[in-house]
């Protein structure tokens, strides 16, 4: 029998969540006050979960490695958040959002979770507006929407190019309100180093105070990992420098299965690499594809300036290949198409590893509309472009400024040069319908779990999922477990050595603390010759080259061998300076890179196992004649959930994916 029980409720897809939600055991307010919940990570998922659970009366502690919970990387999300409000009256519905997400994920996501996500999406917008999040408005005072990839309706809500920032600050203010009321204890500049389990049940965490280096024990009846994705395994990605897999990975080594690690999202529109010094990559929001047209010259190795290439000599390859969706095809499709053109020799810029994202056409279109609005007859071309630029600036001003800062080029005048970059990870800790991992009492929310995006996430759906999990799912589903905890606590109340009495005095905490202290000392005592950074860079290159946008069997086998060798070298030759008892960013990073190395091996193993192409996972051996991803639904319509068995050893567990409401089909955007 499978070790995986997804706990999907019975009933029709439309009824599952509503019925289930109403039948979950409740925890009464007095009991909530004696239940402690540890929330690790303070992004959209963590902040919204912590605030909501504290409002409900639980005792909550929040941990973040940054200096403030407001800095979590959700802050950097640019384009928007989806919700099936149908405010535009363009045919949107819960079902359509559900359908688009399943199809966008290339039929590798769990139906029940995705439908629930679509259902609660509308409440998220209501909640955020009530908090004072200044989402974009039309002149009549109503909310504004725009389009994102993989959909044909306008359901994306936004705040200029800073939607993540505004939503996170909303959730952060709700969190801080609870901090101010004494319901949440905030542990900033703290990093979770391990979970503590007793008889297979989560009882707390070990965290390091990053300022003093002190190792701390924290007890909790439940632990929520809201720690984001693992894109930084590639070294170069659009993630923040501190984003890491450590919390999820340590949980994995304590029994939480890791699902679909090879599903990584390469975002098509990022600023290209400029040299060896590059420390991270910067995204240019997908929203730009509303008004930017992607093209390369029709001629190979064309060295003319973009503006000197006439219209008829440009290849708008997305519009050519995918007339129905054009520039708004999903990310995986757009990224592969860019790679295909560049590999074939049509790339632009010095490196030839870039394509153009051009706003001239739509700037002119907006300019003409503005001229008409202002009753300007026969405006000059300059006048039209000036008016058009004003409109473009209002929509995307911060993104254009950012582009100019980084590249030194003015995108109002010349097309942007863009290339795909690692952005998001669909894989993550396996969770059931309640968002519980395979370790009792341990949950994973937001990007840290695997459940909603299948093999490819649609744009503007990450913010939606993070907030859905935190505001509207976990506050209910946590009750399933905690109500049972209340029963257990009551049964054990006279036991002198019950965990509720001992809490962090239980010997399991001391053992876990010692293990982590030893690990820190181990890093410091290797006293090797190579920096932590250099190992991270080398790991990133292996994974980008062999487990990136395209993968094949031989490459993956080579990558696994190379990563194993790199791991050995790391543990014998890394140089970590300073001491354990101080603020030591290099030491923090050593721990994170050690975990990335292990994860990297599992990613390759998972990619090797999945002998098909789907979404972000493209195996060169499995493609159609037109170069599109070719799924194998007979053999691979399952979630690959890996169980840790020891160094370089994993056991594969499968959760079969059943499509009862959506007909599984070849994904077409033509």
């Amino acid at each position: 029998m499978s070790k995986l029980d997804s706990k999907i409720p019975e009933g029709s897809i439309e009824q599952k969540w509503t019925k289930y939600r109403s039948s979950i055991a409740l925890v009464n307010p007095a009991n909530k006050r004696s239940l402690e919940v540890l929330v690790v990570g303070s992004g959209l998922a963590g902040a919204s979960a912590a605030a909501t659970l504290a409002e409900a009366g639980y005792k909550v502690k929040v941990f973040c490695f940054q200096d403030s919970p407001r800095r979590a990387h959700s802050i950097a999300a640019q384009g928007g958040i989806n919700a099936a409000k149908n405010y535009q009256n363009d045919g949107d519905s819960t079902y359509r959002l559900f359908y688009d997400t399943i199809k966008g994920g290339d039929y590798r996501a769990r139906e029940a979770n995705v439908h629930r996500l679509a259902e609660v999406s509308t409440s998220i917008i209501d909640q955020c507006v009530a908090q004072g999040v200044p989402l974009a408005r039309e002149y009549g005072g109503l909310l504004s929407n725009r389009s994102f990839g993989g959909t044909q309706v306008q359901r994306t809500f936004y705040a200029a190019g800073q939607t993540g920032q505004q939503l996170l600050l909303g959730a952060y203010s709700a969190l801080q309100r609870q901090v101010g009321s004494g319901n949440i204890e905030l542990c900033h500049r703290h990093e979770m180093l391990d979970i503590v389990t007793i008889d297979g049940v989560t009882r707390g965490i070990i965290a390091r105070n990053l300022i003093t280096g002190e190792m701390e024990k924290h007890f909790g009846h439940a632990v929520l990992l809201c720690t984001g994705g693992y894109g930084n395994v590639f070294y170069l990605s659009t993630n923040a420098m501190g984003s890491n897999v450590t919390a999820a990975w340590k949980a994995h080594k304590k029994g939480a299965f890791f699902a679909n690690p090879c599903y990584t999202q390469i975002h098509p529109t990022c600023i290209p690499v400029s040299g060896d010094h590059q420390s991270k990559l910067t995204l240019m929001s997908e929203s730009l594809r509303n008004d930017g047209r992607i093209w390369v010259p029709k001629k190979k190795d064309d060295t003319r300036k973009a503006t000197d290439i006439p219209e008829e000599e440009r290849d708008y390859y997305l519009e050519r290949r995918y007339p129905a969706f054009g520039n708004l095809v999903p990310r995986d499709v757009a990224s592969r198409a860019a790679k295909e053109r560049c590999d074939a020799g049509y790339g632009v810029g010095k490196s030839k590893m870039a394509v153009y994202l051009d706003f001239a056409f739509n700037t002119a279109r907006y300019g003409k509309t503005e001229a008409t609005k202002r009753n300007l007859h026969n405006p000059s071309q300059e006048e039209i472009m000036r008016l058009g630029k004003e409109v473009v600036k209002e929509k995307y001003g911060n993104l254009f400024d950012m582009y100019q800062q980084i590249t030194g080029e003015n995108p109002y005048e010349v097309p942007m040069r863009i290339y795909p970059a690692v952005h998001y990870t669909m894989g993550g800790l396996w969770v059931d319908y309640n968002l519980m991992t395979t370790v009792k009492g341990l949950y994973a929310l937001g990007e840290a779990n695997f459940s909603d995006h299948g093999a490819n996430r649609l744009g503007a759906s990450a913010l939606m999922q993070g907030l859905a999990d935190g505001y509207f799912v976990i506050p209910y589903t946590l009750g399933v477990y905690l109500s049972a905890e209340v029963t257990r606590m009551s049964a054990e109340k006279d036991k002198s050595d019950s965990i509720d009495k001992l809490k962090t005095k239980h010997p399991a905490f001391e053992t876990a603390l010692k293990e982590q202290t030893d690990l820190i000392n181990k890093f410091l005592n290797i006293k090797g010759t190579k920096s932590v950074e250099s190992f991270h860079k080398r790991l990133g290159l292996i994974i980008w080259n062999k487990c990136g946008m395209a993968r094949n069997k031989q490459g993956l086998l080579d990558a696994i061998a190379e990563i194993q060798a790199l791991r050995k070298e790391f543990w014998s030759d890394v140089r970590v300076l300073g001491t354990a008892n101080e603020f030591n960013p290099d030491l923090e990073k050593a721990g994170r890179v050690a975990d990335f190395i292990e994860l990297g091996e599992l990613m390759c193993k998972d990619a090797l196992n999945r002998e098909e192409s789907c979404g972000g996972h493209f195996r060169e051996e499995h493609q159609t004649e037109e170069g599109e991803a070719k799924r194998d639904d007979v053999n691979f319509a399952y979630v690959a959930a890996w169980e840790y068995k020891g160094v370089s050893e994993w056991e594969l567990n499968k959760e079969e994916l059943k499509y009862e409401n959506i007909k599984i089909a070849q994904r077409s955007y033509k």
Binding site: A51, R70, I75, L135, R137, A174, E533
Partner: protein
């Protein structure tokens, strides 16, 4: 590759080193050669840190995270200006093409009693979190919201609120101010919520609590110098301070 014109810089760096909050700090001088003008300022620090580690010396501690100008974590005081010489950018978005070969660059942490130095260039800005916790929110529990389009907000108000809400909480305003005042930061949040219909119920209480917390944290007073606005990487306007003063008057004298 990329946009750069391939020029490389030789620089002298004077960097503040301080072991911990209690220790006395001092400047340390480093020579750097071959710095590409395409690098960001923080990538230049990455190069320096790699060099230090290879020489067996401890890396310089500095705060940074998103490196795209939005998280507000980076905080270097460069040649006497928070976030350096360019207007409207954070340290992470400052690129080396803003410097010339032969330049001497002086880098310090934010200087303010309310932002104690943790180590080298990293400071503790948790005072800002405590100010928000004192009242920088609308008291609405999850699940209590009405349909979002039931609240009509004139576009101009929404845009103005957004302008204030764009604050990234980096603390450059405090570092720039001769009085270490946090007025620009606090007023941005007060303004955002005062401009929106959702913020009206707690309007008076909010400003009173936030200003009280601001004073308790040890930030100085505002003397209308305007350095905060000039150095703010997100262009948060001084008008917010004027608005907060009006809000405070209105709340104090009922």
């Amino acid at each position: 590759m990329g946009s750069g014109n391939g020029t490389e810089l030789n620089l002298t760096l004077k960097v503040w080193r301080q072991k911990n909050t209690k220790a006395t700090g001092s400047f340390e001088t480093h020579q750097l050669t071959g710095i590409s003008t395409d690098m960001s300022f923080l990538e230049m620090f990455d190069v320096l840190n790699e060099k230090l580690i290879s020489e067996g010396k401890e890396a310089i501690a500095f705060d940074h995270d998103c490196r795209e100008g939005i998280c507000g974590m980076c905080s270097m005081y460069i040649n006497g200006r928070p976030h350096g010489p360019k207007q409207g950018v954070t340290t992470c978005q400052l690129h080396m093409r803003s410097f010339k070969t032969g330049d001497t660059i002086v880098v310090e942490p934010w200087r303010s009693g309310a932002f104690p130095v943790i180590k080298d260039l990293a400071v503790d800005r948790s005072a800002f979190d405590r100010i928000i916790a004192s009242g920088g929110y609308i008291s609405v529990n999850t699940g209590n919201a009405q349909d979002a389009n039931n609240i009509l907000i004139p576009k101009t108000d929404a845009d103005e609120a957004f302008g204030a809400a764009a604050c990234i909480g980096c603390g450059a305003c405090v570092a720039a101010c001769k009085n270490s005042s946090a007025m620009l930061f606090v007023s941005a949040k007060v303004s955002q919520l005062a401009l929106l219909p959702q913020g009206q119920v707690e309007r008076k209480e909010r400003v009173l609590k936030m200003v009280a917390q601001m004073d308790e944290e040890g930030f100085g007073n505002c003397t209308n110098t305007g350095a905060c606005e000039a150095e703010c990487p997100k262009g948060i306007s001084l008008e917010n301070i004027a608005r907060m003063n009006r809000e405070l008057m209105g709340a104090t004298f009922k």
